[in-house]
């Protein structure tokens, strides 16, 4: 295993700096699926492909990279191939073509044993419908991953107890899953994923089955854990609010294909097409857009007396200061260079447009 990963790291030095690197990934369901890629049929729209060959393209030629510690959100409507994509990452679904690398390890060509090792130590997953073992207590559900690695009962229970309290389930160690509410069950799912101390966490719509209040709690929980543990996360959702709240970057999928990849403000500020625009039309833009998206170029006659703000400041947070100041705000980039000007009009345009919308 170690020998292999070293070799891999050498050969793909560029991808080693990413926690996860996906190249030209395809998954086609159906008979003789592997024969389709590379033929003109592969370019057909999904419905047409299904009619002609009986195959369904779940994931079509997807490539992206995730940096260590990043929260990468994959978003799309139902049936767009999100679950298929995330399962291909650890080969719970066998990809039809393409490569997946994790920390430079080639997942797609790993042997069964290597793959098991990877799943045990490097990457864990949280599922929409929890998938807990009903015949085991919370603590033994959390310890399951350690158990199958062959770690002794005492040690794994001690570790599991730590994680159980990390996700806020103190006192429920010896309950059974069916004695817990949905939100608590998903905490168990989260704890189970964390117990093995993986580098990467995968989430497949983990909070869709929960009601809105609990969902918000759980999102905050994920944010807290990310801050404390700094793990790389790939997070699937069909809820844009959730995507914007959690994601450092967002990948938007449609019919198995990538439509856009970008930071939340990029997706809202510059939607790639009508599909994305439709998606983001309901979003309160002032909550997402940064000054970069509303500033105009500086002009020689601009007053230089206004306050200075970073271009990454979110509009809503800047609004009060901008409106209060007599002079327009100067927007600076990371090198403290002035790259634009934001005045009252610019702020009002975003905020008022929103109210019109509502």
């Amino acid at each position: 295993m170690t020998i292999m990963s070293e070799r891999q790291e050498e050969s793909t030095a560029d991808s080693a700096e990413y926690a996860l690197s996906v190249r030209n990934l395809w998954k086609i369901f159906g008979p003789r699926a592997d024969k389709i890629i590379g033929t003109p049929e592969a370019d057909l729209p999904r419905a047409e492909l299904k009619r002609q060959t009986g195959c369904v393209a779940g994931v079509k030629d997807v490539s992206f990279d995730v940096a260590p510690g990043e929260v990468f959100v994959v978003m799309g409507l139902s049936g767009s191939g999100k679950s298929t994509l995330v399962r291909c990452l650890t080969r719970l679904i066998e990809p039809t073509a393409g490569t997946v690398q994790m920390d430079g390890v080639d997942v797609t060509n790993a042997s069964d044993a290597e793959l098991r090792d990877l799943r045990r130590k490097r990457v864990s997953m949280v599922f929409q419908h929890f998938g807990l073992l009903p015949h085991r207590q919370v603590i033994d559900n959390v310890a399951y991953g350690l158990e199958i690695r062959g770690i002794g009962k005492k040690e794994r229970r001690a570790k599991a107890a730590e994680i159980v309290s990390l996700v806020g389930l103190d006192g429920f160690e010896h309950s059974y899953p069916d004695q817990l509410s949905g939100g608590m069950q998903q905490r168990v799912g989260l704890a189970r994923a964390l117990a093995g101390d993986p580098d990467i966490l995968l989430f497949d719509e983990p909070f869709s089955a929960l009601d809105p209040l609990i969902r918000r709690d759980m999102q905050n929980e994920v944010i807290r854990l990310h801050r404390e543990l700094g793990k790389t996360m790939v997070f699937i959702t069909h809820d844009l609010q959730e995507a914007l709240k959690l994601g450092d970057r967002i990948l938007i999928m449609r019919d198995g294909e990538i439509v856009q990849i970008g930071a939340p403000d990029e997706v809202v500020g510059a939607p790639a097409d009508d599909y994305v625009r439709d998606f983001v039309s309901e979003v309160p833009r002032s909550h997402v857009l940064t000054l970069k998206w509303v500033m105009r170029d500086p002009r020689p006659d601009d007053s230089m007396d206004g306050p200075v703000m970073s271009c990454d400041t979110i509009v809503r947070q800047a609004a009060k200061a901008v409106l209060a100041s007599e002079h327009p705000v100067r927007v600076v980039d990371r090198d403290e260079r002035v790259i634009g000007i934001v005045d009252d009009d610019a702020i009002l345009r975003v905020v008022v447009a929103e109210e019109d919308h509502a």
Binding site: R119, S124, F130, G131, P134, H135, G145, I148, Y176
Partner: protein, 666 residues
């Protein structure tokens, strides 16, 4: 309440289906065609009746039957040199010595001791202790009462022997069956389909038919009994446990796979524990199947309570047969309750609902009297062997007196029922089936199969009809088919009346369900006893016993099917102001028709099984032929041909009913 509401169009809207379905149901062209075939059949029958019926005269035997007899002689002759037959005999004698050893331990004298190693008191004490350990004190009491009743009624050895055969067979069934269940539960769809078909066919074979071929290859006595029993007990555990494993939540499997488990870990830590409850249901069914086969294995000299039942049935001593019959029921109830309670108890214990420390103390404390009982049962004659008891004979006499009194006073009633059914159903149908020329009956059956079930029914029917003709017992097969059909009609009448009633009255359901559950645990053999007392040695006894045997299953299926009709549909019907009767006829029954067909299918198979056993009490037809094959060694080939014909008949009716059910539910 909803009847008061005016018909709301929007309420009825999503439930437009019932009227539409009713329309399809009533004049359904399939049934019209079937009727047409029957009318045509009757027409031709009236002209050709009595010709070419293929009835064999007295001792007449066909070439195929002689060939079967020769085959048996060859098998017996090659016991010395054919490795396959040597192997089966080896296996058989292995079972014989195992059962023998167990018998000497607990049920018969272990020479030179005049009594078994462990006397009744010790055996009972150990059984009670096990019951206490696995299922709690209530079950322990039940076991104590059951074991004492064996001795009190004078059947200690027979009852314990029956338990021995059952347990040995169940143990082997589980050892062989669980790996197959895992294969079925984890294998791909093709494996699953092949195994399901195989099990389907296997389960249509009536118990009785197993015995002759098994005895030929494995020998008679304990060996044949154990092998027949374990084969018969195998399908439930494979089927039910396999289903349980297959239906384990896919998300859980995926979630645990994603943690990096091996296939073996997946099986041992996820699939088997999650399927545990279903596996226990399979074990329960396997145990009860084993019990019913072990009882009937008396026909091949299998040890156990079946032997006294059989002996008394042969001499039509109903009271005599009644006592061991009741003890068989006692064993059935005991085993059923114990396996079910053990599973619930285990579940509770696994979830911390049982105080383990206290339980350990109780069990340790209870072990002391058990050891004392063991010691006493090896030391004192009274604790080793039950003295002669007068309870058994007294009960037998009382039962005989009761039935004597009953038949004296109610002869008109039973006789009337018998005559009426004979005149209205049995005789005309038998005349039509058995008096038709073979080509007419065969052609009509094929046409009916095609009309009712399409090609899926036609092909197996064609093969089975050809097989029946080949084995030369066409006439007898038609007689048995007649009994089966009439029995099924009666079963369906009962099932419809009680099933609908139960579905509509939760109170009745509450009362009936435990009775029906208990009824299902009783081995078929036992049902013959009381019915024999009422109707004597006639084919009618077999039919009525078959009806009683099949009724619980069929009633439950109908009740569940009718109950499953969606309440919104019913409400919508009521809101249109239909009467109760209309509600049943136009909505509940048509919508439950898949269950009705399934109930009829089960009814057919159960009644057929009983019609065969009924050969013993005057049923005639193939059942009689099989019994004859058992009784006289020179008739072996004849009996074997009859056995095969029964299997063919079973497969035929099963396939037609299934295909019809599939067409119906579409």
């Amino acid at each position: 309440m909803s009847t008061l509401a005016p018909p709301r169009p929007e309420a009825a809207q999503p439930d437009k289906s019932p009227p539409a379905e009713v329309k399809r149901w009533v004049p359904s062209s399939r049934w019209a065609w079937a009727l047409g075939v029957v009318v045509l059949w009757i027409g031709i029958w009236a002209l050709t009746k009595g010709n070419d019926t293929l009835a064999l005269a007295g001792r007449e035997r066909t070439g195929v039957q002689d060939a079967l007899a020769e085959f048996r002689d060859k098998v017996i002759a090659s016991r010395g040199d054919n490795p396959l037959i040597q192997l089966t005999y080896e296996i058989g004698s292995g079972f014989t010595s195992l059962v023998d050893w167990l018998q000497r331990m607990v049920s018969v004298e272990n020479f030179p001791r005049p009594v078994p190693e462990i006397g009744w008191l010790g055996v009972t004490a150990v059984a009670v202790w096990i019951g206490l350990a696995v299922a709690g004190w209530r079950i322990a009491l039940l076991i104590a009462a059951s074991f004492v009743s064996f001795g009190v009624f004078g059947y200690w050895s027979d009852a314990v022997d029956l338990l021995i055969v059952t347990f040995v067979a169940v143990a082997v069934s589980v050892l062989v069956g669980m790996p197959l269940a895992v294969l079925m539960g984890t294998g791909n769809r093709a494996v699953n389909a092949v195994m399901t078909t195989f099990l389907d066919v296997f389960q249509t074979i009536p118990t009785f038919v197993f015995l002759a071929p098994i005895a030929l290859f494995f020998g008679i006595g304990a060996s044949g009994a154990v092998v027949a029993t374990l084969l018969y007990a195998l399908p439930p555990i494979i089927r039910v446990a396999g289903h349980g494993i297959r239906t384990v939540s896919a998300t859980t499997i995926e979630a645990t796979d994603s943690a990096g488990q091996t296939r073996w870990q997946r099986l041992a830590k996820v699939q088997l524990p999650m399927a545990r409850r279903t596996i226990v249901v399979g074990l329960n069914q396997t145990t009860l199947a084993a019990l019913s086969m072990a009882t009937i294995a008396a026909f091949v000299d299998g040890p156990g309570l079946g032997q006294p039942v059989l002996d008394y049935l042969k001499t039509v001593n109903v009271g005599g047969a009644f006592v061991p019959g009741v003890l068989i029921v006692v064993i059935a109830v005991m085993l059923d309750r114990t396996t079910t309670a053990a599973s619930e108890y285990g579940e509770r214990a696994a979830r911390g609902g049982v105080d383990l420390k206290r339980r350990r103390i109780v069990l340790a404390a209870a072990a002391v009297p058990v050891l004392v009982c063991l010691y006493m049962s090896r030391t004192y004659p009274w604790a080793a062997e039950f003295g002669d008891s007068t309870w058994g004979p007294r009960l037998a006499d009382a039962v005989n007196d009761f039935f004597g009194w009953f038949t004296d006073n109610f002869r008109d009633l039973t006789q009337g029922f018998k005559d009426l059914t004979s005149a209205v159903l049995l005789n005309p149908l038998e005349s039509l089936l058995a008096e038709s020329p073979w080509w007419l009956a065969a052609g009509a059956l094929l046409l009916l199969a095609f009309v009712l079930g399409g090609l899926r029914a036609l092909v197996p029917t064609l093969l089975c009809v050809a097989g029946l003709l080949y084995f030369g017992l066409w006439h007898d097969a038609m007689i048995t088919l007649n009994m089966t059909l009439v029995g099924t009609v009666l079963v369906m009448v009962l099932a419809l009346v009680f099933g609908v009633w139960m579905a509509r009255s939760p109170k009745l359901d509450l009362v009936m369900r435990p009775l029906l559950d208990a009824g299902q645990t009783i081995p078929p053999f036992v049902y013959l006893i009381p019915v024999l007392a009422l109707f004597g040695i006639t084919r009618f006894t077999a039919i009525v016993a078959g009806v009683v045997y099949a009724a619980p299953v069929a009633i439950k299926l109908v009740a569940d099917g009718v109950k499953a009709v969606s309440p919104t549909t019913l409400e919508a019907t009521r809101s249109t102001g239909s009467t109760t009767w209309q509600e049943i006829i136009k909505v509940q029954l048509p919508m439950a028709r898949a269950s009705l067909v399934l109930a009829a299918n089960q009814g057919l198979l159960y009644v057929l099984a009983m019609a065969v056993i009924g050969g013993l009490v005057g049923a005639g037809g193939l059942g009689y032929d099989v019994v004859l094959g058992f009784a006289r060694s020179e008739e072996w080939g004849f009996g074997a041909a009859a056995g095969i014909s029964i299997v063919l008949l079973g497969i035929m009716v099963d396939r037609i009913a299934r295909a019809a059910a599939q067409k119906t539910s579409r």
